[in-house]
Amino acid sequence: MSDAIVVEGLVKRFGATTALDGVDLTVTEGSVLGLLGPNGAGKTTVVRILTTLLVADGGRAEVAGLDVARDADAVRAAIGLTGQYAAVDEYLTGFENLEMVGRLYRLSRAEARTRAGELLERFDLTGAAARPAKTYSGGMRRRLDIAASLINRPRVLFLDEPTTGLDPRSRLAMWDFIAELADGGTTILLTTQYLEEADRLADRMVVIDRGRVIARGTADELKAQVGGERLELTVTDATALPGMAEVLRPLAVDEPQVDLAGRRLSMPVSGGAEVLAEALNRFDGGLAQIVDVGLRRPDLDDVFLALTGHAAEVATTDDDAPEAEAVPTGGVR
């Protein structure tokens, strides 16, 4: 399968700030790429360059086989963009918003109207079609915004933080819509700060921080980078923890971490449920004081903390190193 998006060595500077410092990424046609990073990492800048809103200072980018700088108009005809803020005209009705965008994609009036009707129905907005968008809730505006970016049946869709600011219910609904689009074969580049969102929607992920790619791969590959499963247990009396750590140490693959304030012990293990059973066996009579025990696989939050912690270590002096090292232990959870 070919690549719908190819980015090589992308550089963008704003005055003295380097927003992108040589970003490379590819998105296979028909797949979903999650572009992750903290605020200010450069996610939106990547999207702006790929959607022709900004011109890069260095490197090269192709979308749908077209160079974003040389063939900007052809790129625009092939893509859809949903920005960070729902870009809908508040004074137009939902229908008028979609009809306008359809006309600007050079659809005939009849086509634009038909398409507007279809999309309103698909995004559960038919009932609100004749109301000005001013009266819409945040979730409805986002849906209308995504509908607008789909008018021209884009081959590549850019979603820049599509669920930021939505309440949990609207977020779940939005996830369903995005998953449905992906199933339909649309190539999607999705930026997000929410790891859960990327975990759920994206086939592959690229993590950027300070304008550089710091990790890439599938969710499982990224999790494997941070380490495997951990055994965690919480007790009623923290003073028992050091003794327990001694008992469990032979089962751990690395040093157990004790969090006295949280009355918790956490240690990396391998072997799954057998290790868990063995651990409980060793306490025998002491089970009563265990409040909670279980195996936990790292989630993307762990990945992210680990990765950005590592980045800080590279970028700053040695003084920061112990702190950065301490981050992945996750004792604060």
Binding site: L53, V88, Y105
Partner: protein, 268 residues
Amino acid sequence: MSSLGATLSDSVVITKRNLIKVKRVPDLIVFATLSPIMFVLLCRYVFGGAIDLPPGINYAEFLLPGILAQTVVFGSTVTGASIAEDLQKGLIDRFRSLPMSRAAVLIGRTVADAGLNVISITVMALTGLAVGWRINSSVLEAAGGFLLLLVFAYAISWLMALVGLLVRTPEVVNNASFMVIFPLTFASNAFVPLESFPSVLQTFAEWNPVSTVVQGARELFGNTVPGAPVPDAWPLQNPVLYTLLWTAIILVVFVPLSVRAYRRTASR
């Protein structure tokens, strides 16, 4: 579709979008017209008795072309604020991500704002007629007078479009444009005859295009008195020509500058 045809059809779509807002937010029209009405009444009855005019002309006839000019020039500042608002709300990003003409958003905006100006000019002319203003010329000349006002304001709209794209905050656009528009309209012959100005200011006012718009409109509406002194300055002797020259210069400079700024802008 040819690129000119595409620009035209995109501009029509955007103009329509902007006019729908006027329809949905009637307050816009109400306040765009109420304040000029209030202005006509205030000036007519507050300054009316105090300003010395040549015999044979009443203050209402002198004042109306001046107020019309001021109103349409102020009206064109809406362009800047509206574009800044579209930028803030991410709509300009959306338009720029579409395969549409790069000039259409600005053309559609300025044309819709000219439409708003047509409405406020009509309301003011009617108010003027009620307080003693008269058109003493042919229908064709009078139409020329209205057209002169609208064409000049249209050019100012393009200047304001650039301000909106560069300043990016609607409130700041308003304050910045008032700082320019107030001196331009008051340091002109719009409200008082120029003879009362100190000499430096008088020279400025004689070359101020707002003065020539006003003078041109007065002549076309027949609101001048034969034999009444018009300053010797060339602009005021040829007000229509001078105004059209300014209009052309503003458009030639600011249409390309604004379109260039639009191509490069992006909300932050």
